[in-house]
């Protein structure tokens, strides 16, 4: 379908639910056995002095829940974070201890205590590809920033081609998750004052345009689709 299919493997979306999570947890556990073997579970002061790229990658995999993080990007991100934040190796050392007990990202977050800020900042760096949300902050990833994964099936990573010309007229993928609104929808407002004096000519509502070719994948449903 597009240039990303070989990045994410056979699954067109990253919304593969339990299957992905099970796979990921297995990898994290395996990863830890290697890393922990290097310098054991000693107190984190000693640990911090030897926190290396492998430890950073392991921590990153655990807190993001993504087992397939790129080791090269991890190395670059770790270097950029160290160059930006003081004693960053120590921070990763403490996070390393935190994630060593295993669990999902949500479970790790729940027990993170005063490490919560560091944990969320590390996740944000992986999602945005930049060390922080600040003007000209060092960046290490564009196409590989994790933020693009949840919509790989429906949205191009800007600058990259997504399909043959006009592909966007085809139906988008189903959302696949509930549309949750945290606030009640506003009721329709009265007729706008801006066009009170003369009603502009109306177009007939544009009907659904049938795609000229079959959908890209079985995930697509005919329009209009309704969520749950």
């Amino acid at each position: 379908m597009n240039r990303h299919s070989d990045v994410d493997g056979a699954e067109p979306a990253s919304h593969s639910g339990m299957r992905r999570r099970s796979l990921m947890m297995g990898t994290v556990v395996a990863g830890f056995s290697v890393v922990l073997g290097d310098f054991g579970l000693s107190e984190h002061a000693a640990c911090a002095a030897t926190v290396d790229d492998g430890a950073f990658l392991s921590v990153s995999r655990a807190v993001t829940g993504h087992a397939d993080l790129d080791p090269i990007i991890a190395r670059r991100l770790f270097a950029a974070m160290r160059a930006t934040f003081p004693e960053y190796r120590d921070r990763i050392g403490r996070l390393f201890d935190l994630v060593a007990q295993g669990g999902s990202p949500k479970e790790i977050l729940a027990r993170s205590g005063d490490l919560k800020g560091d944990l969320l900042a590390l996740i944000a760096a992986w999602y945005t590809g930049s060390v922080e949300d600040r003007t000209n902050a060092p960046m290490v990833a564009y196409d590989d920033a994790l933020m693009y994964r949840p919509t790989r099936d429906g949205l191009p990573v800007p600058t990259y081609c997504f399909g043959r010309p006009g592909w966007w007229a085809e139906p988008p993928p189903p959302l696949g998750i509930p549309v949750r609104a945290s606030l009640p929808a506003m009721p329709p407002a009265p007729v706008p004052q801006g066009i009170e004096s003369r009603t502009p000519p109306q177009t007939t509502p544009l009907g659904t345009i049938a795609p000229q070719s079959p959908p890209h994948s079985p995930l697509h449903s005919p329009l209009p689709h309704r969520e749950l």
Partner: protein, 552 residues
């Protein structure tokens, strides 16, 4: 093929000297080179490749990309600054009640600011040319819509515009020729929003765009990379560099890093030469028979003021004292909300459809019209920022990004300021550029006409958000710039209160043309580029006529 003549010291002589290499300068250069005239184009900025801009953009920090740092990827000549905002370089000094609404993002580089436009190719409405006569506000143009209509057609054909062949979707529908290509197909979000809002009078229409879904000339088809701003990575979008390339193929010569600073005039007040500094700060002279300044709405009036000489002590073309006055832009606001269903904006070109219902009506005698672009720029980055702020992790974070990216709506709303002589560009008395030339200062007040129009906008946006089940509705309260710079060399029939005539020829100098946004006496609410290009083609015709009739 006529070629400019260079001296051994680097001076140049040509039939036509064009200052500025954007869409207007490029089109005029191409027209005149095609007619057999020698043309030299002087551009203050650098000449770089598209691929470098694309790489620069991909390598920019998330924060810069999230907040639309469309200037930062374009390297500047050290001697020809343009505005930067990440961080601000304060090249343009802003003041007045709404000075911050005039933070323009224009480029000084070969090809001009259309490197980072979104290719919206709107026409003014016929009534926009007669604001004073019809609504009792603003100024009338020196020409009518019908005078400019053939040039609108030519500009659309030069730029390969795709627009609706369905008359009911045209804004305006008064056309003598069809769009060169039918409308860019709507995405799902455009179709769905049209279904919902159009029964309420909002009239969502396709934006006429300088791109197409099949090749146009030597330009490839658009494949929806969703990065029109700040750089189309594949050259499917029209950009001024395309006309520079064409003009050069017909003999025109472009000199980059050439900062024009002085204009010579003779005893009849005709322009005889312009002078520029090269990258090593050496001065050179470009002599010609006719001269065109096409440096966009800020640099053209700045240059006219900088180049004041003994015969023109208040600035070139400025006997009316109107150069630099009447500065306008579509001061606007943004509205964003989460729709109650996925609309999937971000599929296809970055701009696709626009609400034009409130574009005209009798209310314009009292307050500003507006248009609302349904932004089709990917919502992934803002969705990510919002989801991260919620402190989510793991699957919940991914789901929230997906939900917000799919349901997020961003409206870019433009209002119409009136020409006000007090909204004025002047030369800074304290700030100089690296060549020692005064930086521009601009005083700006959007005026009550816009402020009252914003009240209507707020009501309309609330209705649209309500129709789409919107939550988290935010409407910005500070006006933002839209880079549609107008007014600084305003057009009129009376040389006492205007700078150029209906052909964009300066009233004061018989062989000096000032085409582009600066000439526009009314802003309408639509992007200016197509009108600028049409004015440029009209100016080119009048220059050609002067050559044919031996007037130069």
């Amino acid at each position: 093929m006529a070629i400019p003549e260079f001296s051994t010291t680097g001076d140049v002589s040509a039939d036509v000297v064009v200052v500025g290499s954007g869409v207007v300068g490029g089109m005029i250069a191409n027209e005149l080179a095609s007619a057999g005239h020698s043309v030299v184009i002087l551009e203050a900025g650098l000449r770089l490749k598209r691929a470098q801009y694309v790489e620069n953009w991909r390598n920019m920090s998330f924060h810069n990309r999230l907040h639309s740092d469309f200037q930062g990827l374009y390297p500047q000549s050290p001697l020809a600054q343009a505005p930067l905002y990440f961080p601000p370089n304060d090249y343009v000094g802003l003041s007045g009640p709404n000075g911050s609404a005039f933070k323009q993002g224009y480029l000084r580089t070969v090809g001009g600011t259309t490197w980072h436009w979104a290719a919206s190719c709107w026409r003014h409405l016929p009534v926009d040319f007669e604001m004073k006569s019809r609504y009792g506000v603003g100024r009338d143009w020196a020409i009518s819509y019908n005078d400019l209509e053939p040039y609108y057609c030519r500009a659309e054909e030069e730029m390969g515009v795709s627009g609706p062949h369905d008359v009911s979707l045209q804004s305006p529908s008064e056309r003598s020729r069809p769009y060169p290509r039918d409308m860019i197909p709507f995405g799902y979000g455009d179709r769905r929003v049209a279904e919902i809002v159009n029964p309420h009078g909002f009239h969502l229409v396709p934006i006429p765009q300088g791109r197409s879904v099949e090749p146009f000339g030597d330009r490839p088809a658009c494949c929806g990379n969703n990065n029109c701003q700040p750089i189309c990575p594949i050259g499917a979008m029209y950009n001024g560099i395309q006309h520079i390339d064409r003009a050069e193929a017909r003999g025109a010569v472009t000199i980059a890093e050439a900062v024009v600073y002085r204009i010579d005039t003779d005893e009849n007040n005709r322009v005889t030469a312009v002078h520029w500094y090269d990258a090593e700060r050496r001065s050179h002279k470009a002599s010609g028979r006719t001269f065109v300044l096409a440096c966009n709405g800020i640099e053209t009036p700045r240059l006219l003021l900088l180049a004041a000489n003994a015969r023109n002590p208040n600035g070139i073309a400025n006997s009316s004292d109107q150069v630099g006055r009447n500065m306008m832009d579509h001061s606007g606001v943004h509205a964003s909300f989460q729709a109650s269903e996925p609309l999937w904006f971000g599929r296809g070109p970055a701009q696709s459809s626009c609400i034009v219902g409130p574009r005209d009506g009798d209310f314009r005698s009292r307050y500003s019209a507006n248009k609302m672009i349904l932004n089709n720029i990917s919502q992934v980055a803002p969705a990510t920022e919002q989801a991260l702020k919620l402190g989510l992790v793991g699957t919940e974070l991914d789901d929230e990004i997906r939900r917000r990216a799919a349901c997020g709506v961003d409206l870019s709303i433009s209002l119409e300021p009136l020409p006000d002589p007090d909204n004025r560009l002047t030369l800074s008395k304290t700030r100089k550029d690296p060549l020692g030339l005064a930086c521009p200062d601009i005083h700006y007040d959007v005026g009550d006409y816009v402020r009252n129009g914003l009240d209507a906008v707020n009501t309309q946006v609330r209705q649209i958000a309500g129709l789409l089940g919107g939550t988290e509705l935010r409407i910005t309260t500070d006006y933002n710039a839209n880079n549609h710079i107008m007014g600084g060399t305003i057009m009129g029939t009376d040389p006492r209160d205007s700078v150029v005539d209906g052909n964009c020829r300066s009233h004061d100098h018989g062989n000096l043309w000032l085409p582009g946004g600066g000439a526009m006496p009314s802003a309408s609410v639509v992007n200016t580029t197509l009108s600028m290009a049409a004015l440029g083609l009209r100016a080119a015709d009048s220059i050609k006529a002067d050559f044919e009739k031996g007037r130069v």
